[in-house]
Amino acid sequence: MKPPPFQYHDPKTLAEAVGLLGTLDNAKLLAGGQSLMPMLNMRFVLPDHVIDLNLVEGMAGIKETDGVLEIGAMTRQRELEFSDLVAAKCPLLHQALMHVGHRQTRNRGTIGGSLCHLDPAAELVTVCMAHDATIAVAGPGGTREIAFADFPAGYLTPAIELNEIVTAIRIPVWPAGHKAAFIEFSRRHGDFAIVSAAALLQIDGGRITRASLTIGGVAVAPVRATEVEQAIVGQAPTSELFAKVCESCRSFEAMADIHASAEYRQHLAVVLARRALEKAADLADNAPWNRAH
């Protein structure tokens, strides 16, 4: 299929883009197009205007300032995948990117586009939740920042106004030497994950001093397993500990669809939570599920 007719706009500056978005009715922003284009072609969305952000200057790039990784919203996923800075400072993001679609879609897909589409199973959404990222937004009234915990407003719905544009993602990096693991369970390699798990651990003197555990794909937005995080801080990392505390993930509210029932998603949350922690803590280097495809 092809989309029904719409008006195409290609602003060159952020101010121009914000201006268009604020004045046009029923407009959609086009970033990498990896979700919007199929949705247009299948007529799931029917905008009157499409505002293409690809020519807007200054919306892409990766830099680190004062322990915060700042990524422009229009930065391609493939660029992040090959960034030495990302690999060094944010290994979780680096690992997660390997699961994002396929090479062809990563060439075009952007981090901002993925976050705004806000698929419950999207890897980049899970990483931002795990890292307590901040989302920078520009609107007619100026700019503002949104803590990622407040960013998902519902299924496929970010908490931004209709006239706002996400401009950057700020990820506070963890201290050097921290451990990260991103794993997921999908129907087939490259498909959307049914459930994913992202673990960050800081281990000093044989004890966990800081922990972050996030489960994606179970609920409408990724969930932080705060109960697990609290239970493991101060403890020595062991498989027995992780197995015991991760049972709490079974109580997450879960979606059901044709790909997986709610109770199966909850069960996978338990298994993947434990496996992600084990992987981050180097307890499962030889586990078959950690082998490359």
Binding site: K2, E263, L268
Partner: protein, 769 residues
């Protein structure tokens, strides 16, 4: 090198048995090959369909007024308009039950109700969205077992086509959803079963899956008052011509079907699909009309039959199966298509490749309110093997016998009678089995894995199938005055490599290089009759016709040599022969060949026949898996499939037919499923219905064949298009059972299904967690 009459270096077998690269390969990979889906004719217009949103209902009204007003829209057509140009709008191969557009009633969600013809396909698409319809909804029936006894009837009365003698008694039958019941009776099942030491009964199911050819359905009709031409993505142009001629009341010679290359078919593009609709629309538009589906629309055209198979076996104290009863229910969907043939032709092999004295088979074709079901690479046999090979393993386990030894004890070998009564010939089933086991290293100790959560297992399955019979093929070989040869045959090359294989047979007989043989594109004005490219029949049936045509041409060339005074054994260049006879480069030598195998109709009621099939297809598969018992995820570490091909005309093509069929079936087994909710397909797109990709390949995939000369086959060969699909499903299910002790009775074997079975086995069902 010029072709000569008796080349001195002639070598028998120099062309047959060669892995000749595809003759059309370069055209295809460089984008030069012609396909209907991308073809355009001058002045052509486009049609798109408005489809039913209810599963069963009376049409109260259709409002096309808004669609008609869209600029670029030429016509908006309902069945009333169709009936002004074609009095009876019903078509079909077994029953004339399918209306060109819904007539009075709709019978499945997605059934075409109206069509928009426009100057541009996207305009047509847009206008379709402006059509509305009102229905008086009726109760619907979706399940094949329920359909047998339901008081919901999909059709008011049955309308068998006159083509099939065994359907005649169903004419005008009312109050039934049964389109055909096939019965086989051999020995006395009841008595033998009651007396058997061990008795087993299981019920297996298969889900609704579909072909998903790379090239979706497409048809262009160019109608003139005196003749009509179709450009058609069809596996059976001869049948299309007959059916279109019937609809028009015209002789066949006024109907022309041209078939370019097909982007695969797998049985979906058989018999008649979009052609009757395209005809009606072209008659209304008085311009060439193209109907071409999107991928999403394929979910509403034709699928494989879901099935329920109740199987019972009695086994004596020595582990010999003495009695078997098979009750098979085929979910045919809203229109019969070729379902009754699937029911009968696969029904006769429902008891498997085993030597059983007492067999009872009932196989029922049922109408339901879902997308019609038809032939899909195996004509129902993969659904049967899924059941009987799972059943075989379950019995072996219960009897504490090795599943392979249990099979060996019961296999029907050459010289024994099949359940139909036919004495098995060219049926080297043990050879196939042994080759699988050898490649699996079955006799060596098996590594069950050291990880507590990952369990390793292996499984085996074996099967046979009868080729559909009796069917006819005709071929022509034309030798031109320069000595070059052209083959006219109706077999459609849809990716299987038939053009190359047929050319190899011509080249073998005429002693010329295969690459010098031209295979004409299919065109019913030019290429002679062929029953259809289906059921692995082409290499055998058309192969015979092609061989005979080439031999006829060769004999005529020799006669020509004699006529012009050449001595016996002369090696005169063919071109000189024509020069001598006609005084210039002129003339043709035309050889023709026809083949139809011997056949005896099965006796009504008992299905007994001494000659029900001209050859048997045999396949075996072995699988090794790793089951993650924490998630149910199954990783396939090894998949080995062995078939008997008689003689490999083109070894590379045989190998790729096996690997392609095995992978296609891996998808059906592991994850493919059309989800249907109240008749509505909820995953009708490739985003939600996934087919196998490269990442789904088993770690080790082996596709092998044995060559057991098929004594009545052309050059000892037989077809291999479907055979590798048969055993993949049960081999995987048997391997999963071997790994972790759970038995799954219904495909697909996705992770959640396996995990749920594991939990159920532990006595802690997941839903109770």
């Amino acid at each position: 090198m010029a072709a000569t009459l008796n080349p001195s270096d002639a070598k028998v077998g120099s062309q047959v048995g060669r892995s000749v690269p595809r003759l059309e390969g370069r055209d295809k990979v460089t984008g030069r090959a012609e396909y209907t889906h991308v073809m355009r004719l001058p002045g052509m217009v486009y049609a798109k369909l408005f489809r039913s949103t209810v599963a069963h209902g009376k049409i109260k009204s259709i409002d096309t007024s808004a669609a008609k007003k869209v600029p670029g829209v030429l016509h908006v057509v309902t069945v009333d308009d169709v009936m002004k140009v074609l009095k009876s709008p019903y078509y079909g191969p077994a029953f004339h039950d399918q209306p060109i557009l819904a007539h009075e009633k709709v019978r499945f969600v997605g059934e075409p109700v109206a069509a928009v013809i426009a100057t541009d396909p996207h305009i047509a698409e847009q206008a379709v969205q402006l059509i509305t319809a009102e229905y008086e909804e009726m109760p619907a029936v979706f399940d094949e077992v329920e359909a047998l006894t339901s008081d919901v009837f999909v059709h008011e009365q049955l309308k068998p086509a006159h083509t099939f003698a065994d359907l005649k008694h169903l004419k005008d039958a009312k109050n039934t959803n049964v389109a055909l019941s096939y019965n086989l009776r051999r020995g006395d099942f009841d008595k033998a079963f009651a007396a058997a030491e061990h008795q087993f009964e299981h019920e297996f199911k298969t889900q609704k899956v579909l072909h998903l050819s790379f090239e979706p359905f497409a048809c262009i009709c160019d109608f003139k008052d005196t003749h009509v031409t179709f450009y058609d993505s069809s596996q059976g142009p001869s049948f299309v011509r007959t059916e279109i001629a019937r609809l028009l009341g015209w002789p066949e010679n006024k109907v022309r079907i041209k078939v370019p290359y097909l982007g695969s078919g797998y049985g979906s593009k058989l018999y008649i699909k979009l052609e009757a609709l395209a005809l009606a629309l072209a008659m209304i538009a008085r311009k060439p009309v193209k109907v071409a589906h999107t991928f999403e629309e394929m979910f509403y055209q034709i699928t494989r039959h879901p099935s329920t198979f109740r199987i019972k076996s009695g086994v004596d104290k020595n582990g010999k199966i003495v009695a078997r009863k098979c009750e098979v229910y085929w979910n045919g969907g809203a229109y019969a298509d070729i379902g009754p043939r699937v029911t009968q032709k696969s029904g006769l092999t429902a008891a498997g490749p085993y030597d059983i004295d007492n067999v009872w088979i009932d196989s029922h074709a049922l109408y339901t309110n879902v997308t019609p079901s038809g032939a899909l690479r195996g004509f129902g046999v993969p659904q049967l093997v899924w059941a009987y090979e799972g059943h075989t393993d379950m019995m072996a386990r219960a009897l504490k016998m090795d599943p392979v030894e249990f099979r060996r004890k019961n296999l029907a070998i050459e010289g024994r009678a099949h359940a139909t009564g036919q004495i098995l010939q060219d049926h080297p089933i043990e050879k196939v089995m042994d080759k699988v086991l050898e490649r699996m290293e079955w006799s060596k100790p098996f590594d069950r894995g050291g990880n507590s959560h990952i369990k390793r297992g292996r499984g085996f399955a074996i099967a046979n199938k009868a080729v559909i019979s009796p069917t006819t093929s005709v071929a022509i070989v034309n030798v031109s005055a320069d000595g070059s040869a052209t083959l006219y045959c109706g077999t459609v090359d849809m990716g299987q490599g038939s053009d190359t294989a047929m050319a190899q047979m011509v080249a073998e007989v005429l002693n010329i290089p295969t690459e010098d043989v031209r295979v004409t594109p299919r065109d019913t004005d030019v290429t002679p009759y062929d029953m259809g490219t289906l059921g692995s029949r082409s290499l055998f049936h058309m192969g015979h016709a092609v061989r005979r045509a080439a031999e006829d041409a060769r004999d005529k060339l020799k006669a020509l040599a004699k006529e012009v005074g050449e001595p016996e054994g002369s090696n005169i260049p063919i071109a000189e022969l024509f020069q001598k006879r006609y005084g210039m480069q002129a003339g043709n030598v035309i050889g023709s060949g026809i083949y139809k195998p011997d056949y005896t109709s099965p006796a009504p009621g008992t299905g007994q026949s001494p000659n029900v099939t001209p050859f048997w297809m045999l396949a075996g598969s072995g699988a090794e898996v790793e089951v993650d018992t924490e998630t149910g995820h199954v990783k396939i570490t090894k998949l080995i499939t062995v078939v008997d091909c008689g003689k490999a005309i083109n070894p590379k093509s045989v190998e790729t037919q096996i690997s392609g069929a095995a992978l296609m079936h891996l998808g059906f087994t592991m994850f493919e499923k059309m989800h249907i909710d109240g008749g509505q397909v909820t995953n009708a797109s490739l985003a939600d219905y996934k087919i196998p990709g490269f990442h789904d390949l088993p770690t080790k995939l082996e596709s092998l064949y044995v060559e057991h000369d098929q004594s009545n086959g052309p050059f000892g060969a037989k077809g291999v298009g479907e055979v590798a699909t048969f055993c993949v499903g049960p081999a995987l299910a048997n391997a999963i059972d071997d790994a972790c002790g759970v038995r799954i009775m219904e495909m697909p074997l996705n992770a959640e299904t396996v995990y749920r079975a594991l939990r159920a086995k532990m006595g802690k069902p997941l839903e109770d967690a």
